[in-house]
């Protein structure tokens, strides 16, 4: 039986208002997680301690981005990627776009 293990568990204050939290778990390869990675990348607004942006790949979706947080958790934009590395790169790009528009 394959064990799970933490691959990424990092937090980073990108400025005095936002903190990035990156978490990735190596899990057994399955239909649900074809790359064997369960990931969650979050941008947190520290002024209210709520997620402003979230990328994850839980069931029944592939990698998707929650772009209307904190108001609407059900708004999901499916990402055109199946690879966790590409998903992290897209998350970082979106973080930079949000910060530029603040």
């Amino acid at each position: 039986m394959s064990a799970t293990r933490i691959i990424l568990d990092e937090k980073f204050a990108i400025n005095n208002r936002f903190r990035v939290v990156l978490y990735a778990l190596e899990v057994p390869v399955s239909e649900k997680f074809p790359n064997g990675i369960k990931a969650k990348f979050v941008l947190i607004d520290v002024e209210g301690n709520f997620p402003r942006l979230l990328v994850d790949n839980h069931e029944p979706f592939g990698f998707h981005m929650h772009t209307a947080l904190p108001e609407n958790k059900d708004v999901r934009v499916e990402l055109p990627v199946t690879d966790h590395n590409a998903a992290l790169a897209l998350f970082c790009e979106e973080v930079e776009r949000i910060l530029k528009n603040e």
Binding site: R5, I6, I7, L8, D9, E10, K11, F12, A13, I14, N15, N16, R19, V20, L22, A24, E26, I37, I44, D45, V46, E47, G48, N49, H84, N85, L88, A89, C92
Partner: protein
């Protein structure tokens, strides 16, 4: 048991953080942040965040052990809303936790994220020189 009662503030550029974490994920080589460390993008960002009022909150949590934010605001003689806002930010950045105190009012009890007694700020290494030969 960790006997070092320090919380470390360290600095890393966003581009370096991105490159480091993306490389770790690609190689599936674990990259796990230290629990006693908070990473900031720059010294300026840390200084903007960590106001004197927030330092006073951390000190009061240690010395007064308030059981609620309301009590903490009283100890500090500050407006409750402002103290609550500062506590929320301190929690989000990883300096404290706000635990349900279990009373009927739904109060939250501020605690340090771990049992630290000092914050050590590790400034980025700076190399600085004067070219004396050119000035002669």
């Amino acid at each position: 048991m960790n006997k070092d009662k320090s919380l470390y503030i360290r600095f890393e550029k966003w581009d370096d953080f991105k490159a480091r974490t993306q490389a770790a994920l690609k190689a599936r080589k674990p990259s796990i942040g230290e629990k006693n460390t908070i990473l900031f993008n720059s010294v300026v960002d840390y200084q903007k965040f960590m106001t004197e009022q927030k330092i006073a909150i951390l000190a009061a949590i240690i010395s007064q052990k308030p059981t609620s934010i309301y009590q903490l605001a009283q100890v500090l003689d500050r407006d409750f809303g402002n103290v609550q806002r500062d506590c929320t930010a301190l929690e989000a950045m990883g300096f404290i936790t706000l635990e349900e105190s279990g009373d009927t009012k739904g109060s939250k009890s501020p605690k340090l994220a771990f049992n630290y007694r000092r914050i050590v700020i590790e400034m980025p290494k700076v190399t600085y020189s004067h070219e004396l030969g050119e000035a002669a």
